[in-house]
């Protein structure tokens, strides 16, 4: 074991009463937009009748204290780490120790527009498989809040996934005392996790991803020509992104043009984020709100939204889209590749085509590749049982 040199303090969430009252007040005052004809299937963005239902539930029926108690049923901590630029970061994390004598340490990283809550439905399943009648390894589960997200601190100067990866390594070694560990993630978490594997290959034993963020440097001699299957996939992805990437482009160029409205209006925050859950979740899109609510029950999505709202982190969370590209950490250097054994599971999302395995292999030492029939971008929340069984079986093969 590495010597623990940084302390972690136990942490419980407690949102003051006046902040809950302020949220309720704002929701009561909400002024909704009109909506163009033809938005039943969210073609112009977030649907109005869904939003009216969501805001009304948030205002009248949502019980934050109940959700807060549930969040607090997981052991949480905070630890302060100072980065190379002398910036302090207070890292919030859930830390559930696994059953048995030799659980595998596993750090799981969420993305945008999510929070650490995304993994809470699978913490117990991964830490204590015996409770669910599952054989196979148990994990010490560590779920941090990304820097600038949820209950972690807001950076004074935004940092990207490579810098966050170094903090995660120190969290696992200096704070928690592990020599080696495994990592799992999707979305922005998959950037952080890929960088973690690149930057700390001796400590990271294996990674499992539900998104493949790194891009191979196609100019390098080791890269073979794009296959016809890859070319088709790239073309389809570009088409999909051309109508979906508005949020990404604004957040990566001018997050502060957007921040003032999102920080002022809980309905505005919800409208901005709900579109992503609808689009990227494995939601039935044939009705204005039924499929969305079946996939993401009001209490579930509103816990996510409430974490953003109460922590005032929507601006710092969005700014990761600017800090990330500015760090230049998603394009691999010539000849660079993730050497750590990597597993990839693809969950169906909207109309996105399936990633060719050959594309994944260009950037990763790919050992497992699986395509699921259901799940979506927030698979740990959407299909907790399927997701946790898949993660466990992937690491059985990878380790």
């Amino acid at each position: 074991m590495t010597h623990r040199i940084v302390p972690a303090d136990p942490f419980k969430i407690h949102v003051p009463d006046h902040e809950i009252a302020d949220l309720k007040h704002r929701l009561e005052q909400t002024r909704f937009p009109n909506e163009p004809d033809g938005n039943e299937h969210w073609a112009y963005g977030t649907n109005l009748s869904y939003m009216e239902r969501l805001v009304s539930y948030w205002r009248d029926d949502f019980d934050w204290r109940k959700q807060e108690a549930w969040l607090n049923s997981f052991p949480q901590f905070k630890a302060v780490l100072t980065d190379d630029d002398d910036q302090d970061h207070e890292i919030h994390f859930v830390y559930e120790k696994g059953s048995g004598p030799n659980p595998i340490p596993l750090i799981m990283t969420h993305g945008w527009p999510s929070t650490f809550r995304e993994f809470l439905d699978v913490v117990d399943r991964l830490a204590h498989p015996e409770k669910y009648g599952q054989a196979g390894p148990a994990f010490d589960v560590i779920v941090p809040s990304l820097i600038g997200y949820g209950f972690s601190s807001l950076p004074r100067i935004p940092i990207g996934p490579a810098a966050i990866a170094d903090l995660w390594h120190r969290l696992m070694t200096e704070v928690l005392g592990y020599d080696t560990y495994a990592a799992q993630a999707g979305d922005w978490g998959s950037f952080v996790t890929s960088r973690l594997a690149l930057q700390h290959p001796k400590a990271v034993r294996a990674i499992h991803l539900t998104m493949l963020p790194l891009r191979p440097n196609m100019k390098h001699e080791s890269q073979s020509a794009i296959t016809p299957e890859e070319a088709t996939w790239i073309k389809e992805m570009k088409t999909w992104w051309s109508t979906e990437e508005g949020y990404r482009v604004i957040q990566s160029t001018k997050p502060m043009a957007l921040a003032f409205g999102l920080a002022d209006s809980p309905a505005g925050l919800a409208g901005w984020l709900a579109d992503k859950y609808y689009r990227l979740g494995d939601t039935n899109k044939s009705h204005e709100w039924e499929g969305m609510e079946a996939r993401f029950p009001m209490d579930t999505i509103l816990t996510q939204l409430s974490i953003y709202w109460f922590t005032g982190t929507i601006n710092s969370a969005n700014t990761l889209y600017k800090a990330g590209p500015e760090e230049g950490s998603s394009l691999l250097q010539s000849g660079e590749r993730v050497t750590v054994p990597t597993g990839y599971t693809e969950y169906p999302m909207d109309t996105l085509p399936i990633t060719p395995r050959s594309w994944a292999e260009r950037s990763y030492n790919l050992k497992t590749f699986k395509v699921m029939e259901k799940g979506g971008h927030f698979a740990a929340m959407e299909e907790p049982e399927l997701f946790s069984n898949d993660v466990r079986s992937a690491f059985e093969k990878l380790l």
Binding site: T30, V249, K254, M256, F260
Partner: protein, 395 residues
């Protein structure tokens, strides 16, 4: 065709109070540290400036004074093909003033043109000749300001159709000159292209201060054209996010904007800062080198009091739905065209060699100062240029 009805801006006090209450109670948040001397707008809207603007808004901005300015010229509303159109209609001096249609864009409003009305309509008040007066028609785009809200997005091509009807049928003019920047330049381009006098429309000439409607299939050829294309590409990569968002998912943005006056102000002010000539005499940049707070807030307040932020963004989606902004390959605008090239315009005109492929240019002016909101920024410089063009057309 229904007769235009006179209109005055008269906003209920409760609407103003509701907006100001939200501005006053705005709960300020953080922004990333910016090093001393670095661009405070690097992440979007500068919070320090927003605090200053909102403090002024809450304590000193006088909507009734802005309203008085808006009501200083005759306004009307008319139904044009089912779309309610708000417009100024100012009779020009002289015996036979030629009609001039001025079209604003996003995130502008008719407010942009208030400062040039008198000079264009009544040149004798500004050292000119009354016989050069122009009769002005200044409409609010569909879904903008005091015009009606469409039920679904419509774009500049359709708007040009409405404008030609407004001019020729509702107002009964045989011919008119059209002028525009931003979306106004695209609408004006379509007026010249689809509704020119050569095509049985009423548009006899156009004056543009932005590169809007473009010739189809034209690629940069000369070294100058290629340099322009590379620079324009880089500008679009850094600046086009709002456009991509508004053209695809305006509704995802609308919940925040329609619920937050400060949110709208920040979204719009960022554009006025980035797209304008904000350089002062000492070489440093500040938004108030181009605009006063009263000007910025008057324009923003029009979006808020009419609750049209959302429908204004639909115009981007409507633009793509109606097929974008290209003329058929091998065709061009045949009516005489004036190009007003302001140096701080962010969507820059290509070199003249390329513009000529789309337009019958008979006036080209490179200005020394000014940006995207030329009428508001440069006032009389802009007005003189338009007047000169109109005079020249009379021969």
């Amino acid at each position: 065709m229904a007769t235009p009805q006179p209109f005055k801006v008269e906003i209920q006090q409760s609407v103003i109070d509701g907006i100001l209450d939200k501005v006053r109670s705005y709960d300020w948040h953080e922004m990333p540290d910016i090093e001393a001397g670095a661009d405070r707008w690097a992440y979007g809207t500068d919070m320090v400036y927003m605090k200053e603007l909102c403090a002024y808004w809450a304590k000193r901005f006088d909507w009734r004074a802005a309203e008085e300015k808006l009501n200083a010229f005759p306004q009307f509303k008319a139904d044009v093909d089912g779309q309610e159109v708000h417009f100024y209609h100012v009779q020009g001096s002289g015996k036979n003033p030629q009609p001039l249609l001025l079209t604003h864009g996003w995130p502008g409003t008719v407010f942009e043109f208030l400062g040039v009305i008198d000079q264009l309509a009544h040149p004798e008040n500004h050292g000119g000749n009354a016989e050069d007066g122009l009769t002005l028609v200044i409409p609010s785009l569909p879904g903008y300001g005091f015009s009606g809200k469409p039920k679904k997005p419509l774009g500049p091509k359709r708007t040009a159709e409405l404008w030609n009807k407004l001019m020729c049928e509702t107002l009964g003019y045989d011919t008119y000159i059209a002028q525009g920047g931003d979306w106004g330049s695209v609408v004006t381009g379509w007026l010249g292209y689809n509704h020119g006098v050569d095509k049985q429309g009423g548009c006899q000439a156009i004056h543009l201060n932005m590169w809007g409607l473009r010739p189809g299939g034209v690629l940069p050829e000369t070294p100058e054209e290629q340099t322009w294309a590379a620079e324009a590409g880089a500008v679009m990569a850094a600046e086009s996010a709002y456009l991509q968002l508004q053209a695809t998912k305006p509704q995802s943005l609308s919940y925040a904007m329609m619920d937050s006056p400060v949110g709208v102000a920040a979204w719009i002010t960022e554009k006025f800062n980035t797209w304008s000539d904000t350089e002062g005499e000492d070489g440093t940049k500040h938004i108030e080198n181009a605009y006063t707070k009263d000007q910025l807030l008057s324009n923003i307040m029009i979006y808020l009091v009419t609750r049209t932020f959302n429908t204004s963004t639909w115009f981007y989606r409507g633009f793509f739905e109606e097929g974008g902004s290209e003329m058929a390959p091998g065709t061009r605008v045949e009516v005489p065209t004036a190009i007003a090239n302001f140096p701080r315009e962010f969507i820059k005109f290509p070199p003249r060699s390329m513009v000529e492929k789309g337009y019958n240019i008979n006036q080209w002016t490179d200005f020394k100062a000014g940006g995207h909101f030329a009428a508001l920024e440069t006032g009389s410089t802009f007005a003189s240029n338009v007047s000169t063009f109109a005079k020249q057309l009379k021969g």
